[in-house]
Structure formats: structure tokens, C-alpha cells
Point group: C2
Chain length 186, copies 2
DNA sequence: CTCCTGGTAGAACGTTCGGTCTACACCGGT
DNA sequence: ACCGGTGTAGACCGAACGTTCTACCAGGAG
């Protein structure tokens, strides 16, 4: 059964690694992951084949969660596609102003992992594609000219918001981005 | 004297580290830096006190070069502040489409170095402040309302361009950003 | 009861990490 | 001629890296 009193080692490892790989970066050591999860060394290699596999799985899980946050924010903003898309930047404002925000996890992974063959890269690519599709679906309904172009610009604003939020913590990049998004969508 | 047939070990080390710390990330090993620069281990510690000092100095040098690129691009664009600012995004288009582009060096350093006390963070902060001032000076001449706000938005577009260029190499984020910049500046 | 599965605990592997150290060579200045 | 400064070459250190290994233990199924 999936549910026990305490989550199994696989679950504990994923939870701890999701937190630590964000706080400390994906180059965090295996020992730190194991002791944070209270998991035996062996379990890591049985469940994920190695650190790379764990990191990739962590990113997959985080991607699913983050996409759900985008979907929830959009769904809660009513029916107007314009308002639904602007709601994304309201959600981003919350995220980047939350203490402990350290930038976009996926960009951080791509920059930190130099080897192009690392399985993490495929996960981040897939994540961005899903997010792009999510936005494109809303943009489509607006019947604007060049919908693909508009979607790319929204993606750029999102990446810029997360990057600026990490680089200049005093600023409020999501507000700036939201204003720019309003320009695009009108 | 400063000029010899071959640059001294300090110069070689800076040059090699500037390249390697970008290609491989700032977590590149000391041995890789030393062998790439053909420099004795000892020289690193005599000249920079350690790897952290070298990384910080590399970022300082890169920042000076990058700021000069911005200044040159702006200066070459004539007298109209609007055209001068848009020229920044033309320059960025060149940068992000150049093979081997791996994103913003300074954001990469901030994300990869988890310890807040690392000297690199002060350098990246200073770099962004200088870039911000550079843009603000041009924005000021436009006599727009909320010039600080506009400058922040331009910074966000720049960060977004560099992040997107690294994350989605097939896109042309600088063009999208330039179009948004035109909206801001009009 | 016995056996198997899946978990823990931890030693140990070889490699790499950043950093310190010794030994020696070159070269310009006095 | 000599000396001090600066460089190279490379051994060496303790620690951390990712990984593999053995030994043991709990719980459920046969």
C-alpha cells in the first residue's frame, strides 16, 4: 500500500531532496540528502539508480507541482483569458517575495549541470514545454495576431520575473512584468 | 613590466578561469583551472588567496567587459535615447544566438553559490547596480513618467532574455524583448 | 518456522575537492 | 657573483564526493 504511518524511504528521499536541492543547489552532496531524509545509503541507489536519477525525479515531481500551481492560479481567475493570464503574475509575485526564494529551480539546474547528457535537462525542457502549452491555450482564446509570439513573450516575462526576483530581492519584478503583460494582451 | 611575450600566470589564470567558469559553471575544479592556464598551483593562492578570490576577480573582470559592451552598443546607436536603449536588445540578440551561450554568468554564479557570504555575490550585485545606472541614465533623458519603474522593466527584459536564451535555445528572446521595450519607451 | 523482501547501518572503494608544503629553476638588480 | 623575488613541478593533506559492498533486522507470505 502507498500510505503508511511514515512515508517510505523513497518518499522521504524525494521530499528532502526537493527542499535541499533548491536551498543548496543541485550540487548538494549525497550525504546531506541521506541524513536529511533519514534514509540508508543503499535505498538511494535501489530506488533511483544514483544521484542523477534522484535529481531528475525530484525535478519531475517539482514540475508537476509547479504546473499545478499555474493551473490553479489560472482556474481561480474566472473566465476571461486576459484576467487568467494576468493572474499568473499575481501568483509569481507571491512566489518571488516569499522568504527563501532562490530563483527558478529549472534554470538553476540547467546552469549548474554542465554535461548536456544529464537527465535533468530533459525534465526541464519538458517542464517549459508544458508551461508554454498552458499559456498558449489561454492566448489562443484571445484571438490576438501572432499568438505564438505572444506566448513566447509571456514566457520571457515569467523567466525574467524569476531571474530578477533571485538577483535583486528588493525589487518587485512580478508587478513590472504584469504591467508588461497587460500591454501584450491588449 | 606588465607586458611580456607571454602573459604572466595571474593573467593566464584569469583568462582561463573566465572561460572555464562560464562553460562549466563556477563549481569547476581548481585542477581544471590550473591545467587550462598552465599555471602552478601555488600561483593561484599567491595571487588570489584561493578559489573564491579567483572567482570573484573573474567576475569583476567579466563585469567590466560586459558593461563596456553595453556602453559601446549604446554609444554606437546615435543620439536618440530610445534608439540607444533598443540597441541593447540588438546586442543581446547577438549574444544569446552565439553558439556556446550558456546564460547570464552572474545569475549562474548567484544560483550556484549557496553561501550568502561568498565574495562573488557582492560583485554580481555591483554589476547589476552599474547596469541599472547605465540604463537609468538613458531613461532619464526620455522624460517618461516613472523613470525608475521603466528602468526596472528594462532590467527585467534583459534578465528574461538571457534566461530564456539559455533555457530555450531555439527561441529568439531578444527580439521579443525588444518589441516589449518599444512598448515601454513610447 | 522459514524464507524472502525491503529496509537500516556503516565500512570501504577510488576519485576529486580546495589548500598547504617542499624543492628547484629562472631572471633582473645590485 | 650573488641574492631575492617569482615562477614551476609535484607531493601531500584531510575532507567530501558518488558508489559499492557486507552485515543485520523487521515483517509478511508460504
Amino acid at each position: 500500500m502507498g500510505t503508511r504511518i511514515q512515508p517510505g524511504p523513497r518518499e522521504r528521499l524525494l521530499t528532502a531532496a526537493q527542499r535541499l536541492s533548491y536551498e543548496q543547489g543541485v550540487n548538494v552532496g549525497v550525504d546531506a540528502l541521506l541524513s536529511a531524509a533519514n534514509v540508508a545509503r543503499r535505498s538511494l541507489y535501489e530506488h533511483f539508480g544514483g544521484k542523477d536519477g534522484l535529481i531528475a525525479e525530484v525535478l519531475r515531481r517539482a514540475a508537476a507541482e509547479d504546473l499545478d500551481r499555474y493551473r490553479s492560479a489560472i482556474a481561480a481567475a474566472g473566465d476571461d483569458p486576459r484576467q487568467r493570464l494576468l493572474a499568473v503574475f499575481d501568483m509569481l509575485d507571491e512566489i518571488v517575495t516569499t522568504p527563501g526564494f532562490r530563483g527558478c529551480r529549472y534554470l538553476g539546474a540547467d546552469l549548474a549541470l554542465a554535461e548536456p547528457a544529464h537527465p535533468a535537462h530533459a525534465v526541464t525542457q519538458q517542464y517549459r514545454q508544458s508551461l508554454h502549452d498552458l499559456l498558449a491555450h489561454e492566448v489562443q482564446r484571445l484571438r490576438l495576431p501572432r499568438p505564438g509570439h505572444v506566448t513566447d513573450q509571456l514566457m520571457l516575462l515569467i523567466e525574467g520575473t524569476l531571474a530578477t526576483g533571485a538577483a535583486r530581492p528588493t525589487s518587485r519584478p512580478a508587478r513590472d512584468a504584469r504591467e508588461l503583460a497587460q500591454h501584450i494582451l491588449s
